[in-house]
């Protein structure tokens, strides 16, 4: 019987009522008395020296409050990077200053060159056109390999080169890996591009800065996945505002996908300018601005080699990747191609030796940072593509080759520094074979061929490291912040509960799923419980939502806080029931004394806590509110197996996805409907990356996919009906809920199966095509068929 509430129930998403009826409250809905508007003048060239900026005429235009340039921000800090990577020679990465407004040099199209604060947006925009820029253009650095060559133009003159770091992992294994590859019976090599993407959340970024002279209080309303992280970075590193004088509010946020983790210049600007002009300052990104100022994702160029023995056992993996950082280091940019990528290179397989080399490059492009999956999709893609290629080269079934090499015993310590706590890759693969009806593929292929279409089947596995992250471990790896989370469970006098959480919900459904957990623990209805999130003045200092961490880390904090609450409530109940604490049981919202019919309701106990007339005041404090901070002992390791079936039109190269199946192991599942929804969305983005999305620059550093006219987002009719299953559950062994996280799986797990399927289809048609770079557009498929 499916449950109708609590853990395991598909409770309907309560937040959807406001989202779907236009009653959500987003940052752009915030309008404050006396508010001004900022228009940013953005660079339309990729690389230039700024000789001068003349704002005289602009400042005199109607409605202009103040014009700002880089010179106004010389005294404040740069936008910080939150992770210091150490290169393979033991040196810290090169870390350029990242100014709020360009000062002296323009380094990418879209960089802020000046800002006009006006009474109206139109006036600010008019005035920006009157700003006179004197620029000397420089050659743009766009291609990563060219950027790495001696003598290349430098993005940052004050750095030694365009190489942010040259990272080796595990450096000590380098020689052993080289040797294993030399000794191998077979080596499969694949060179590929992991295409640059623009996250494109439905809601563009918005920031409203506010300053109160009466109490010297700064408030920033912003579209963020993690208001406390923004307060920390902006307050401590950029503007020098102590925490108690800075409030950051992220109300309803219309999608983040990683791109709203980062601290952006516009946030610092609005906060700074609000004090400077002593009025609120609002910025709402246009979609065009979003394309050239939201951090982009992916953008790796990789060579991977997979070595095997004569029996097709994997013996070593060696990779070399160029990872684009863009012009500056965004908040977590440096960690994505390293600790979120290299550590996942073992995948689901027991390859004994692995060496990952990553050269992070500065280029004259928008900064690149985490996007749904962040590093893990890049690792999964290359690994699952090279395995597929290896299976073809060896003439073995790609599923069998994977199975043969699966990790089967847990815990499993990989050669890339992580330890998988639990998993059952055979189970998810078997489930996939069932739900994808792999046995029926041959018949479906025959049907397609009868229609003149080529049909292909692609399969892949994936593993990810979620529940980010154990603070002591990431601290050793260079993280400049802790990655625990926090929750306060506040029980009100009549028994209803507010839970203040550090996690931020921007589509994930926390407002529904978190109360399910508390409801299960206490036995009161879900609607008696509310989540409060997104405001640093209301919530404990938690680190927000990314890396599929909300439930695994913040949910664990919530459980711990609720346990403290329940323990205390039991003491109160024991007092009321004149029994011993140890004998009190809580079930269905009733405290009872074991083995008796004596009981007291949850609401009576909570009332007693706040009206402590009959209360053990000598032993316990009144009130019922507890906070817990939770720092995970390890990452969690969701894993699964995905299958995609495509049809290729041999005349046009057009690929259509006919079937898509996903068998995931997320450990325990709180709300199966929400989990399915997360997987659906992730797959949509994965298919988008595989077939459609392509953020492209020309050699001058102009963004040529700068609008939806050229940047193809997946639409409903590009996508099939998915079959998703998460009944294979090996609970996480180290968090109280046994949960692993599901937010990124779809985006991580889907691109390889799509491309594997296309290659399978083309080969079935006699075309010797072994790889096509994403997005696998009709034009690329056609070129590949023609060149085969």
């Amino acid at each position: 019987m499916p449950k109708d509430s609590g853990i395991g129930a598909s409770s309907k998403r309560r937040e959807d009522l406001r989202f779907l009826t236009g009653a959500g409250k987003y940052t752009d809905d915030i309008n404050i008395h006396g508010q001004t508007y900022v228009h940013f003048l953005r660079a339309d060239v990729a690389h230039a020296t700024i000789n001068s900026i003349d704002t005289t005429a602009a400042a005199a235009m109607p409605g202009v409050v103040q014009v700002f340039t880089g010179a106004d921000f010389e005294a404040v800090g740069g936008i910080p990077c939150g992770w210091q990577v150490t290169d393979r020679f033991g040196e810290p990465m090169q870390e350029p200053r990242h100014p709020v407004i360009a000062h002296g040099t323009i380094r990418h199209v879209g960089e802020i060159v000046a800002a006009v604060v006006g009474e109206t947006l139109a006036q600010a925009r008019d005035a920006a056109e009157a700003i006179v820029l004197d620029l000397t253009e420089k050659p743009a650095v766009v291609d990563m390999k060219a950027a790495a060559t001696e003598g290349s133009t430098k993005v940052h003159d004050d750095l030694a080169s365009n190489i942010c770091y040259d990272w080796g992992f595990v450096e000590e294994n380098r020689d052993a890996v080289d040797q294993a590859i030399k000794d191998a019976a077979h080596v499969t090599t694949l060179e590929l591009v992991n295409n640059r993407l623009v996250a494109n959340p439905m809601e563009p970024r918005v920031a409203v800065g506010e300053y109160s002279r009466s109490d010297d209080m700064h408030t920033l309303h912003t579209t963020s996945q993690n208001p406390h992280v923004i307060r920390l970075l902006m307050g401590a590193f950029v503007l020098g505002i102590p925490e108690h004088k800075l409030r950051v509010v992220a109300p309803d946020v219309g999608g983040g996908f990683g791109t709203k983790i980062f601290h952006y210049a516009e946030e610092a600007f609005c906060t700074f300018a609000a004090k400077a002009v002593n009025r609120p300052v609002k910025w709402t990104s246009t979609r065009s601005e979003a394309f050239m100022s939201d951090a982009h994702g992916r953008d790796h160029v990789t060579k991977i080699e997979l070595a095997m023995d004569a029996d097709n056992n994997f013996t070593a993996i060696r990779t070399e990747t160029y990872a684009n950082m863009g012009a500056y280091l965004s908040t977590f940019a440096s960690s994505v191609p390293t600790w979120l990528h290299g550590t996942l290179m073992a995948g689901n397989y027991k390859t004994p030796l692995i060496y990952v080399n990553v050269k992070a490059m500065f280029t004259n492009t928008v900064p690149v940072d985490a996007y749904r999956g962040a590093g893990r999709p890049e690792a999964t893609f290359q690994l699952e593509r090279v395995i597929d290629k290896a299976a073809r080269e060896r003439g073995v079934d790609p599923i069998a080759l994977r199975r043969q090499n699966f990790v089967t015993e847990f815990p499993y310590a990989t050669p890339v520094a992580v330890e998988y706590d639990t998993g059952d890759y055979e189970a998810t693969m078997a489930k996939l074979e069932e739900i994808a009806d792999i046995d029926g593929f041959a018949a479906r292929r025959a049907e397609s061929e009868a229609k003149g279409k080529l049909r292909g089947l692609g399969v892949n596995c994936y593993i990810e490291a979620c529940g980010i992250a154990p603070s002591n471990l990431v601290g050793q790896l260079g993280a400049r912040a802790g990655l625990y989370d926090a929750a306060t469970v506040r029980v009100n006098a009549t028994g209803s509960i507010s839970v203040m959480v550090g996690a931020h919900s921007h589509g994930q459904g926390h407002e529904t799923s978190f109360p399910q957990v508390i409801s299960e623990m206490i036995g009161i209805p879900e609607d008696q419980i509310d989540i409060v999130h997104g405001d640093t003045s209301k919530i404990p200092f938690g680190m927000g939502t990314y890396g599929s961490r909300s439930l695994a880390v913040c949910g664990s904090a919530m459980v711990r806080a609720a346990e403290k609450v329940i323990n205390k409530a039991k003491k109160i109940a024991a007092h009321l029931l004149e029994a011993s604490d140890a004998d009190i049981e809580l079930k269905d919202g009733q405290f009872s004394v074991a083995g008796t019919d004596k009981s007291v309701a949850w609401g009576d106990v909570t009332l007693a806590a706040y009206v402590p007339h009959n209360y053990p005041l000598e032993d316990i404090e009144p009130g019922l509110e507890e906070t817990a901070f939770y720092d995970p002992a390890n990452f969690t390791y969701p894993a699964g197996a995905y299958a995609c079936e495509v049809e290729v039109d041999p005349d046009t190269g057009k690929v259509t996805i006919e079937r898509f199946s996903a068998a995931d192991d997320f450990g325990n599942v709180i709300n199966p409907m929400i989990v399915s929804g997360q997987v659906h969305g992730g797959i949509a983005q994965g298919i988008g990356q595989a077939l459609l999305e392509n953020c492209a620059y020309d050699e001058d550093g102009q963004l040529i996919s700068a609008s939806y006219m050229d940047y193809a987002m997946p639409r409903a009719d590009d996508l099939p009906f998915y079959t998703v299953d998460h009944s294979c559950q090996t609970p996480c062994t180290h968090n109280p809920l046994g949960v692993k996280g599901c937010g990124e799986a779809g985006a991580i797990g889907s691109p390889p199966s799509v491309v594997n399927a296309v290659i399978d289809a083309l080969q079935s048609g006699g075309k010797n095509v072994t790889h096509i770079d994403m997005p696998v557009t009709p034009a690329r498929v056609w070129e590949a068929m023609n060149n085969a």
Binding site: T652, L691, D710, A712, A779, E783
Partner: protein, 264 residues
């Protein structure tokens, strides 16, 4: 957007008058012009809205059987009202953009704009349509003058478009994946006096007639008539979404499919 005045005339004569003003510009459905204004790429002082002009609305059939479409008729209206008279044209209109675009965008706006990837130019050229303006009639063959360029004079308004109805016709649109305009679109129409083949999306010169295919199909109206033909890649558009040779190839494939669809 820069500030502008808006005029809403109710007759063609008033519209033509209003358009005589300096920097005045016609506004159809605004599906091309409004985004351009928002990006501040144009700065008309007056917009003259054509959508309130009754004489420029709707679909009817002339005595000679031609389908006449008012210049301010939306794509959605054409999709609905031309279906009985000229199904291929109605079908083309029903696949332009999305419902919002179809409910606003107009045939006159589309033909005046002459986007090299737009659909209506292929239908007009492929049908040998007549573009009727406030002061003359222009044969489609004389109307399209290259990307975003037409025979229209300053202030001239497309009031009606007349499509002779073919025996059979079909439009095949291969979608540009992002914009969903035509990466290549081919309109094939068979008339008693021969076959017309108009191609959009492909050429740097905008919509064009593929005369070799027309000759071959006029002699033998079947997809196999195209077998020996090929279109040179020279002069085809090359961009993020396809090379010139890919577009040239698609023209042939889409032409064949259009012919097959005519026979299906």
């Amino acid at each position: 957007m820069y500030a502008f005045e808006i005029e809403r005339p109710s007759t063609i004569a008033d519209a033509v008058n209003a358009l005589k003003g300096e920097d005045a510009q016609a506004l159809g459905g605004g599906q091309t012009l409004i985004p351009t204004l928002k990006q501040r790429l144009a700065a008309p002082s007056v917009l003259v809205s054509l959508t309130g002009i009754g004489e420029m609305q709707g679909v009817c059939q002339a005595d000679d059987g031609a389908v006449c479409i008012g210049g301010a008729t939306t794509h959605a209206t054409v999709a609905k009202e031309a279906a009985a008279h000229y199904p291929a044209l109605a079908d083309l209109a029903s696949h332009i953009g999305d419902p919002a675009v179809r409910n606003r965008g107009t045939i006159g706006g589309s033909l005046a704009n002459n986007d090299p990837a737009a659909c209506y130019p292929a239908a007009a050229l492929g049908s040998g349509a007549t573009i009727i303006t406030n002061n003359r009639q222009i044969a489609a063959d004389d109307y399209f003058e290259g990307m975003f360029s037409t025979a229209l004079d300053e202030g001239e308004v497309i009031t009606e478009v007349r499509f002779p109805v073919p025996q059979t016709a079909n439009y095949q649109k291969f979608l540009q994946p992002a914009s969903r305009f035509a990466l290549v679109g081919v309109f094939v129409a068979q008339y008693a006096d021969g076959v017309r083949v108009a191609v959009t999306g492909a050429s740097e010169e905008g919509v064009f007639r593929w005369s070799e295919a027309e000759a071959a199909l006029s002699a033998n109206f079947s997809a196999s008539a195209l077998d020996g033909l090929s279109l040179p890649a020279d002069g085809m558009i090359g961009d993020l979404h396809g090379s010139p040779s890919y577009r040239a190839h698609l023209v042939k494939v889409m032409t064949g499919r259009a012919v097959a669809a005519c026979q299906g």
